[in-house]
Structures are given as C-alpha cells and as structure tokens.
Assembly symmetry: C2
C-alpha cells in the first residue's frame, strides 16, 4: 500500500505533465497556423475565416507564427474566457446538448463539494483518533489511518459512517432532482424558443404495411388522410440509398487521392506521379496516377447517376418507412404518441429526429429482426464484457517470441536483436490490450448500429451505457478484486448471494490509493491532454500539406470533432462511482475527484466554445441516462458499504443500511415518472401553445418547407448544397449568429495580425445563405 | 414415498367425493326452491322470474320440491348443455371476460394434451427401461421407476429429456402465441361490435392542477377547450362521496335489521321484538327493535340528505379528477394516449374504465402518495410472503392450552374436559393457519385498494399476481423444500447463486406424489365442490327466511357471485406451473392435470352460463397477465430442470438447456411488443373506423347520454334507479336479450311447474327499461 509520500510524488508527476500540456496548448493556440485546429467552431459559424493570401512578404511569417511576445505571458487567460460566456449565449452558440453535457461536470462539483466538507470535518477525525492499525501487526500507511480501516471491529463509531451514508444519499438525490428539473425545463424552453424546424412537425413512421396495388407513398397518403384527416400535411418515403451512399463515398476517396497527386504534380511538374493499381499500391501494373484516378472518378460518376435514377424510380428501393409531416405541432405530437393500427407492429410512429441526426442506413430494418438483433447483441455484449480477455490472451500468445519465430522463421535475425526482443516481450502484449481498449468504443458503436437504432444520438446513448457497464465490470470490479471479469463471474456464481458485497467490500479500502493514482493519470493529465488536441493537430497539418487546394478543402480538413458522448459520459460517470463509493470509506479520495471535475469543466467548456461542432442536437435527450447512472453508482456504493460494514461486525447497522438502496430506488422511480416523459414526448399543451404563437407571428409555406426536409444526404450533396447539416442547422439559428460582445472579446487574445484578419472577414448576417 | 396403490386409493377417495358433490348438485338444482341459487344469471337477465304465489294448494309442494322422478335419472345432463352454447352467444350472454377466462382452461388442455402424448410415448419407456433404482439401496416405488430418478448418472439418455424440454417449450410458446393473437382479435371484435358505451368516448383525467380563482370544473373545461378544441365535448368532475356512501351503507344495514324484526313481528304478532342497543346486542338498554330502527333510519336519512347537499355544493368536496368526454372515439383515444402538460404528473389521462368498473373510493389519491403507497405495499407484501408464519406461530402459541389457562384461568374446568383439550391441541393451530389462508385474498385486496388502483378489474388483476407469487413461494417452493419461506430466504442468501436450482431440482422428483394428491384434493374435489355452491345456498335460504319481504328483496338475496379472477386465475396458473415443471421430470403427473382442466372447464362454463354475474367487463384486459404467468412457469421449469440435470452429472446438457430460458424470455418480449398494446390502447384506426360507422348509423344525443354516465352510484341510487350496474349493462346489450333457442332448450330440464312459471314470466323486450 502506498504512503502519503508515494501519492505526493504521483501527484507531482501528474500535475507537471498536466501543466506541460496546458503550456503547450497555450503556445500552440496562439500560432495563426493552428487557428483552425483550436478555433474551428468559429470558422464553421462563419465568424472567422483564413486571412487571404496577401502578397506582402512581411506578413508571411506572422501568418504562421505569432511573434507578439506579450501574448505568451498570459498563457492561462483562456480560462476566464471559457467561464464567462453566459448560459443562454452558449446555448445559441453550441446547442443545448453541449450546455447540458457541461452541467454533468457541474453536477459533480455540486454533489462532491458538500460531501467533501462533511466527510472531512466528521469522518476524518473519527477515523484518525483510533489506533487499531497501530496495534495490529499488519503494515499500514497514513492513508489507511484516515480511512474506515482504522476503526476497530464492532465499534459504535461506525454509526458516524452510517449517518454519513444517509447524508450522502440525501444530498445526492436532492441535487439530482434539482438538476433533472432544471434540465427538463431547459429542454422545454429550448423547444419553445426554437424557430420553425422540420422535426417539430414530423413523425417517423416505420413498418408501413405492404400493399400489392399501391406504392408505399400512396398507402401512407391514404392512411393518414383517413386517420388524421384534420392534421395531415405531407410525407416523404425513405428510399434505400445505402448503395448510392457507398458509391459517393468511394468517389470522395478517389477524389482525395486525385487531389493529392495533382498537388504533388504541381509542386514537381517535371515528374508525373506514378502508382500501382494493386492492393495498397504495392502490387499491380504501374499507371499514371492522375489519369487513372480521373477515369475511375468518371466511371464512378456514371455509376452514381445510374444508381440515383434506379433509386428514384424503382419501387423496390422504396422502404416501408416514411417521414410524415403535419399541419400543426399538435397533430405531430398526437400521431407520435398514439398507436395507429390494430397490429402494434405496423404503422409505428415516433417523434422524428432532426434531419442531421437520422442514421439513414438503419431505416430499412424490419421490426421482427429488430428483436432478434437486440437479443443477439445482448448476448454478444455479455460475452464481450466477461470473456474479452480470452481472444486477447490468444493474440498475446501468438505475439510472443516463440510464436513469431515459428510462424515466420525468416524474421529470426531481426528478432534476435536484443532491443527488438525486449520490445516484443515487454510491450507487445500490453499493446494488444491497449489497441483492443481503443477499439472498444468503435466495437460498441458497431454493435449499436447492428441493433438498428435510427438516430445518431440514440446510437451514442446506447454505446455510452454499454461502455459504462464494461468499465464497471472490467475496470472498477476488475481493479478491486483483481481478476478478469469471467473469473469474477464464476466466483460470484459459486458464492452465496450475500457474500458478494462482502468480498468486494473488504477489498475496497485497500484499493483507495490505486484509484487516487487512476484519477490523476486518467482524470488530470488526460483532461489536460484533451485540450491540446494532438491528433487533430497532426492530421490537420498533414491534410493541409497533401490535400488542400481550395478554401473549401481547408474547411473540410479541419476536424472539429464533437464531445463524444459515447466515451466521455461513461468516463465522468466512473468518477461519480468512485467518488460515491469512497465518500464514506476513504474520504481522502474526494478532493482528487473535485480537481478532476473542476479541471474538466473548464477544459470542456473551452472546447465546446471554440472547438467542437455537434453532429446533432438531441435537446439533452441523454439526461435520463445520466441521472440513472448516478443513481446506479449510489446504489452500488450503498450495497458495498453494507458488505464492508458486515465484515466489520457492525451488525446492528445492517438493517439501517438496508433502507438506503430501497429509498434510493424509490427516489429513482419517482423521478422517472416525474421527469422522464419530458425527454420522450412533446406534451400537447406545449405543442398547442407554440402552434398558437406561430399562427400569430407568421404563416409560412409549411408544405414547401417540409416536403424536402428529410432527404437522404446523398441526394442533397448532388443537388449542390455544400453540406446539408450546416444548411439545416443554420436554418434554425442563423439569426443568432451576430458577433456578440462575448465573441469579440474572445478575439482579443489572438494576436494582432490574426485578429485583424479575422475582424476583416466577419461575414455580415445578410451575406449568409 | 407413495406407491401406485396409495395413489389409486387417494384417487378413488377423491373421485367418489367429486361424484358425491356432482350428484348432490344434480339433485339440488332440480328443486324449484333452489332455482335462484343455481340459475341466478337468468333471473338477472330477466329471462326467469319466481312463480307468482298462486293460491292453489296442489302447487305448494311442487313450488319447493321437484317431484318429477324422471328428471333425477339424467343427473349429468347439464354437461352437454354447458358445452354446446356457441362462443358468440356466450359472449352476448356473459361478456367477453368470462369467455376469455374459460379459454384459460382450454389453453391448459391444448398445451398439456400433446405434451401428455409426447412424454408418455417417449419419456416413460426411456425412464422405465433402466434399473438404477433396483440396484440402489434406497427404497423406491413404481412411480419413481417412471420418473427421471430411474436414469443412472451421466447417462446419454438425458438427451431425451433435454429434447423433450425443447418440445415442451416450443409447443407451449406456439399455443401461447396463437391464444394471445386470438384473444387480442376477440377483444377488438368485441369493441367494434359493442353498441354506444360511455367509456368509448371518455377519458379519466387525474391530478387536475389547483387553481385558486376557478373551480375544478372550470379549469377542466378551459384546458380541454384549448388543447382539444376540435374534439372536446363535456366532462364530469368526481366528488368525494365516500362519507355519503358510508352513510348509505349504514342505512342499508339498519334497513335489513328493520326488515328482519318486522318479519319476526308479523309471524308472531303477540310479541313486539326487543333488542339491546349496546355492542352486538349483548349489552345496553332494552328497546323496541322496530321503533329503534325506524328512528335510526330516519336520523340517517336526514344525515344523508344533508351530506348530499354538502357534497353537491361544497367546492372542497370536488376532487381534482374528472371524466372528460369527447365527440368522437378518435378524440378520446388521442387524449388517453398522449401527455397533456409539461409536468407529466398533472393532467394524467387514461382510458376510462366502464362506469360499473370504477372503484370510486380511490379516485382522490394524489400522485405522489401513490408512489409511496406502492413502495409501502411492495415492502408489506415481501414481509407477508416471507414472514407470514411468524405472527401465525405467535397466535398459535397463544392458542395452546397453557396459554389459554394462563390468560383465562376461569376457563380451566372446560379445558380440562378431554375432548375439548384434544380439540384445542389438535385443531386450533391448524385452524389459525386455515383462517389466515382464507383471509389472504381479502388481505391482498385491501393492500391493492390501499395502493390506489382506480378500477375493480385492475384491483383484481393486482391481487391475482400477488396471490400467485404467494402460492409460488409458500405452496410450491414450500412443499418442495419443506420449510417456511423465510427459512428458504436465508438458505438462498447463504448459498451460491447456482446451487439454488440444484437444491430445488433434487427435491422435485421426490415430491411428485405429493403434488398428485394435491391436484386431486384441490383440483378435482374442489372444482366439483364449486358447482354445489354450498355457501350461497345456505345464505340464500337464511336470507329468504329472515329478510325477504318483496320480490325485490329476493332478487337481492340471491348472490350470483362472479368468477373471482383474483383467486381463480392463480389457482389455474398453479396447475400450469406444476404441469410444466413435471412434464419432463415425472410425466405420470400430467393426466391428473388434464382431468383437472377438463373438469374445471365444464364446471366453470356451466357456472358462467347459469350463475355468475360479472361485476364489470374489462374486455379481457387480464390476458397479458395470464400469458406472462405461463411464461414464468415455463422459465421456472427450465431453470429447475437445469438444476436437476446438473446434479445428475449430465454436464454436457447444461449449455443446451441454458438456451431454453433465453429463448423463452425472447419470445415473451416479442409477444409483449406484438400483442400487449391491444390490451392497453385503442388504436386510432379502429377508433376512426367505428366513428365512421357510427356516423352512418345514427347521430345520438351524445352529450345528454355522456353527461351523466359517470355518476357516483350513491347519487344514482338516490335518483331512484334500481341498480346502476344493471341499468348500464342493459343499455349496451339489451337488444341481445331475446330468448334464444339455446336458452329455451336450457329450460327443458327444469321440471314442469318451474318451467311453466318461467315460460310465463319471460319479460318481452319492450317491457324492459
């Protein structure tokens, strides 16, 4: 077990590495050449553009490097900037999803600061003033003296811990309820404030029954004319454009290569670029790369045109899925919430996601197969969680020296070099695991896609909950009882049900130092690393070097990314879990978590303002998941405390503790009934309200607007729209993009030349499409 | 363990007792004096009435006793009568609930007849042709030779049992699906065929928010005029008439006593009846009973009038609950299925139950308290199930001889009589338990009422599921591992999770004979006893003797009862459970279950036709529960088989068996999605359909009809309507009550005089209100 000194050293290392990241960021972000990496959000919003290539030589350097030495002194001045943008402005700027996501960090602070104060003033003295550990023969550290381990068996002092468990529960639930209420209200206000958006009026209808005499479109029309005759307006049938999308994607790839070769050629006009047509450009006949790609693109263009015609005209490519639009929000809300036909698996309706949130590929999966897919993925996830170690161990066994020597004896001379040998022996097995863990979110996303969710937001939510489960079993439980999950599984199956919390409970105080280190590495340094955006930085400059020809290419090359709910949220939840579990057991751990929440809040707020460009706006639909997982963590912490205390022979406290999870679950059920519907349905009163307001303000050409709102992005691209997502996004919020006071202040800390150029280029509102 | 001989004896005893019941029934039912006990349904429908008191002396005897000896020979001829009424006619006659309830017995036959054939042709030979038991030193019987116990450890023959488990699952699921589909369709057809009924157009709105400036009625009016302006028609606010109902009930009781004393006086006019006013008429001043009751009733009548005025005028007696009616079924369906307000706990809407199905007392419980009540009752039920033995043991300990002697030493002389002593020692403890078990359904019903369900049908459904759980833990598991449930609980908590099915699995084959006896006593004799209706018979004649003055009193005195879903259905389910568990383990048990299902089907079909008068019509809303419990039984049987086989060292079969519960649960999820909505919601297409038909057929004065449809029965009684339930019921089905061919045939086997009188009295359709 680590001493306080060990932890201090670890803390120092991590603080220093975090500081290095922050300083590196502070320097890099001031360079104009990195402007598109660190401020892409402003470019996307059209409030900043690259400075035009002026001929004046004096500016060439300042275009890439910031020479204003004064700006380097204030290397932390992005922090107040990140913090001062008011919430309403931030919602306009980055959307509700991002703002609510940031509230998760705030929630962490709100929950753990009072817990920190309470536990440190009450539990630390209670724990410290014993000398159980001194009298025992076991080795112990000062940290253990501060924890529950220092209390003798069956001591009445345990009542302090029990009382604290109650305080933690009550406080956490209180904050959770307040937050749920706030978020629900924010969601409604956002909905009410939004301009006319297609998904307000539209319902996604799945499983339209087949009719041999009619096309899907006619069936839909007839059904809704009969059953919603007062409200029905128009509809769009979804067509299966998956093949077309694939062709377009291939064409885009070829186009990239063409660009690459053309730039290469223009830099060195003496030599036509040559390539090989075979696998990865390693084998095959040598051809002129530019010509080859041009013909390939030509070919693809023809194929695309043909396929497009096919999709448009072939009735078989029409899917039994349609986006049905109504005259009023009320009509759409009614249709989305009701059962249409006697057979509940036909004419399934749900509130349509935003057009850019639709995951088009999955719109064609039939209902029955969905159940099977769900079941399959459930089983697959079970095996992934509990037995993932097995294939990895298999790969690791292949990746050892004897394995490689056997499989590829010709590599012997290289392997026998000592450095290579030790590398293979030392790193390769670890790297295999690391690669798996890096791929895990992608695997989970593939699984969710296979399950057939229809919107990107739901895909991400599903991934998040699975990722959290994986982390819980393999990182949390895995670290505590040190063993792969499938070994735990067999332990648990062979153990009486009431001994499981005891087994874990005993181990918990001993693992406190491990988790403190984990928080510092993953939470502190990791978060500081996030702000540096090392990967996008490198990729952007590479793309800039090899692919960018026009301003639009550069626009494409910058990859603002998004918050990444599917991996980010489970990470935060993991800290909630650790915090709640250790709040009563080892209060020493709480400040480390507080530092994480504070740092992450600042960093991510900065990123949300300057970097991330959300792929969709789900209007905080993820909050019930967030709430549910904090509740889960709370219940887990209570059960483990029960297990721990029962091994401490504090038997009298067990019935008192038993009430904790029951109360917590009761609270959760209450919240579910009270707040969750706000995240699923559009209440008729709200819809009617907004309809009435709308009628007063304007009477738009609704049919024309809605008729083409839900078109597969492939068709939109072809129609010449630059990017449907932005298009759509701006439709709703364009009026808000005026250079606000906040934003112009933001600009102040980019150095003079850059600032001037960006000031020059602010596009006035009228300029925008 | 019992031998085949033992079972044969038990079977003989039970068959004889069943036969005695049936013969007694055959005789009693032919006596005209019992006509109202055995054929109340026909009286309620108005197709039979008592013969008028003719003066002719010759008829006095035949009025009470059937002297036609020929009719006694055909003592089983009610059986074909019970079976031949076609389903559609039965639905008209007794309602959909009863018809679907009978289908549960049929489902039992449909599931278990093929299982019987399969297991007897395959498993019995497989089991019999071993001699494991002969070589073992344990005692065994021929029954065990037919069961799985006779197969040696790790024998490949177990694959036959595994295959059979699959066949059982597939067949059961297939039948369940077919049945679910049929019932769902029957429900829709019934809805479509129904005449205009108030609940088609009405939605129950709970939790209307308080408004200081407006009455509840005005708030409701305004809200629905705004948010459902095209569809809203009218509403009725519910008032808290619980106190009024109580007064009316008290008055009714006093009235009964008054009647009793008046009849007593009229029989013996020389002596005015005297009573004591104190507790139970034992203490207190002596008064003239008739005068006393007359003044009491007078007093109550005044109180009732005052309270009625109070309820009508006091705005505080208005509950925040209203029945809101719409112009169309479509409008009502929309309102019932949607969320109205931003706060999902306000303006809660649900499809209104039938007027006679409403449980008025619970309409005033606020939402928050509902959650708490649910939680409380959940905890209470847990303790009731697992610890009910403790209070009973306590009472039993009080009810022993020493206890009584201590508490009441003056009883010593009586107790010391040997007969009394042995009675107390032998019977009293058992009787305490018996009384508890008899009270159990009442206790469960009280718990459900406390939980706040709003309709009688839902109350009964809740009770049924709890009663089933209780029976599962205390009768099924209790018999198998012989111990009170709370002892099991501690065993299970202290045992590894995977050993629980093993512990039970081992015990299962040994308990087969116990369950065979159980089926014969509870299933055979019990069912035969049901048809005798001993308790209603006695009570009717007592009432007839002491209370009945007028024809209407006699009408009231007959208590047709109803099917009693809350106790009847769990009983059937218990047989499904035993049957599925033993299908593979001891196939010998199956025919006993088949006899039960067949006998019960005939008996209950007879009762449904001739006796029961349903309290409500829920249109088979209980079927999802029935389906779910059969699935539960199936999963339990599979898990126990797994446990059993793993103790038999048939390890290879475990993974194959593991797929069984997974597939079953998958099937259940599929069915839930596919069929359950039919039992909860009114699909818009159906509603629109019926609306359209309605428009063609007639345009009734809908507002007038709906305005007073949902009035507390207390007000209706006062208004002079004889019985709101019948009133309402006849409104919908009156046209169907024409003497059908079926019914007139039915009458043939009641003897001449009775038949003539009933023929005379058939009220022509036009006569009815």
């Amino acid at each position: 077990m680590a001493t306080i000194g060990d932890i201090a050293v670890a803390a120092a290392i991590n603080i220093i590495s975090a500081l290095i990241f922050l300083i590196a960021f502070a320097i890099l972000r001031l360079q104009p050449v990195n402007d598109r990496v660190y401020f892409p959000k402003w470019y996307i919003k059209g409030l900043r553009t690259s400075s035009p290539a002026t001929g004046a030589g004096a500016f060439v350097v300042t275009k890439f490097v910031n020479l204003d030495y004064r700006s380097y002194f204030k290397f932390l001045n992005w922090v107040p900037d990140a913090l001062t943008m008011p919430q309403s402005e931030l919602i306009d700027h980055a959307g509700l999803d991002s703002v609510v996501y940031l509230r998760i960090y705030l929630l962490g602070l709100k929950i753990f600061i009072p817990i920190f104060l309470f536990t440190w003033t009450i539990l630390i003295p209670v724990n410290w003033t014993n000398n159980t550990l001194e009298h025992s023969k076991e080795t112990y550290s000062q940290i253990d003296k501060l924890s529950i381990s220092n209390i003798p068996h069956a001591s009445p002092r345990f009542w302090a811990h029990v009382a604290m468990a109650y305080i933690v529960m009550i406080w956490t639930c209180f904050m959770l309820k307040k937050e749920y209420e706030t978020v629900a209200n924010m969601r409604f206000s956002f909905l009410q404030a939004e301009k006319l958006r297609p998904h307000h009026f539209t319902v996604l209808v799945k499983n339209v029954p087949k009719d041999d005499d009619e096309s899907v479109s006619e069936t839909v029309d007839r059904f809704f004319l009969v059953n919603h005759h007062d409200n029905y307006l128009t509809h769009q049938v979804v067509c299966n454009a998956n093949k077309l999308a694939k062709l377009v994607k291939t064409k885009q790839k070829k186009q990239n290569w063409l660009d690459y070769y053309q730039i290469k050629y223009s830099k060195n006009p003496s030599k036509r670029p040559i390539m090989k047509t075979g696998f990865l450009g390693v084998w095959g006949a040598k051809v002129d790369a530019i010509e080859y790609h041009e013909t390939e693109i030509e070919k693809l263009s023809n194929q695309i045109a043909e396929e497009r015609k096919n999709v448009m005209n072939n009735p078989k490519s029409m899917m039994p899925v349609a986006f049905v639009s109504f005259k009023t929000r009320w009509g759409a809300a009614v249709c989305a919430q009701t059962q249409q036909a006697r057979n509940p698996t036909l004419w399934l309706t749900e509130w349509a996601p935003e057009p850019r949130d639709v995951y088009w590929k999955n719109l064609a999966i039939p209902y029955v197969s969905l159940t099977v897919r769900k079941l399959l993925m459930g089983v697959a996830f079970f095996f992934l969680t509990f037995f993932y170690v097995i294939p990895i161990a298999f790969v690791q066994s292949l990746a050892n020296i004897q394995g490689i020597q056997k499989a590829a004896p010709f590599l012997n001379p290289i392997i026998n070099i000592k450095l290579v040998k030790s590398f293979i022996q030392g790193f390769l097995p670890g790297i295999v695991l690391k690669i798996f863990l890096m791929l895990l979110p992608k695997i989970l996303m593939m699984m969710s896609k296979f399950e057939g969710f229809l919107s990107i937001s739901r895909l991400e939510r599903r991934c998040a909950s699975r990722y959290y489960l994986f982390k819980f079993f393999n990182v949390f439980l895995g670290s505590i009882i040190a063993g792969a999950a499938f070994e735990q599984l067999s332990t648990f199956l062979n153990q009486p049900a009431n001994q499981i919390p005891e087994t874990i409970g005993i181990a918990i105080p001993m693992k406190a130092t491990f988790f403190i280190t984990y928080i510092m590495v993953d939470g502190w340094s990791g978060t500081a690393g996030e702000i540096l955006r090392l990967k996008p930085l490198v990729i952007y400059h590479l793309k800039n070097l090899f692919l960018v020809k026009t301003e639009r290419d550069r626009e494409r090359a910058m990859n603002p990314g998004s918050i990444g709910f599917n991996t980010g949220e489970p990470q935060i939840q993991f800290y909630f879990l650790i915090g709640l579990v250790y709040a009563v057991v080892t209060p020493l751990l709480i400040p480390f978590i507080l530092v994480f929440f504070a740092l992450a809040f600042i960093v991510y707020r900065h990123q949300v303002i300057n970097v991330y460009n959300p792929k969709y706006e789900s209007r905080a639909a993820f909050w019930p998941d967030v709430h549910g997982r904090v509740i889960t963590a709370l219940v887990i912490s209570q059960i483990l405390l029960m297990g721990l205390l029962s091994t401490k022979h504090a038997v009298a406290s067990t019935p008192v503790l038993l009430a904790l999870p029951i109360l917590t679950i009761g609270f959760h059920i209450y919240c579910k009934g009270r707040f969750e519907p706000a995240f699923i349905r559009y209440p008729l009163q709200e819809a009617m309200n907004k309809d009435t307001l709308d009628r007063v303000v304007r009477e738009p050409n609704l049919r024309g607007y809605l008729e083409n709102a839900y078109v597969h992005p492939v068709f939109k691209d072809a129609a010449g729209a630059s990017s449907d997502y932005d298009d759509d996004h701006h439709h709703g919020t364009s009026v808000n993009i005026v250079p606000t006071k906040r934003q112009s202040r933001r600009n102040e800390d980019t150095p003079e030349p850059s600032r001037r150029s960006s000031d020059q280029m602010i596009i006035p509102e009228t300029h925008k499409p």
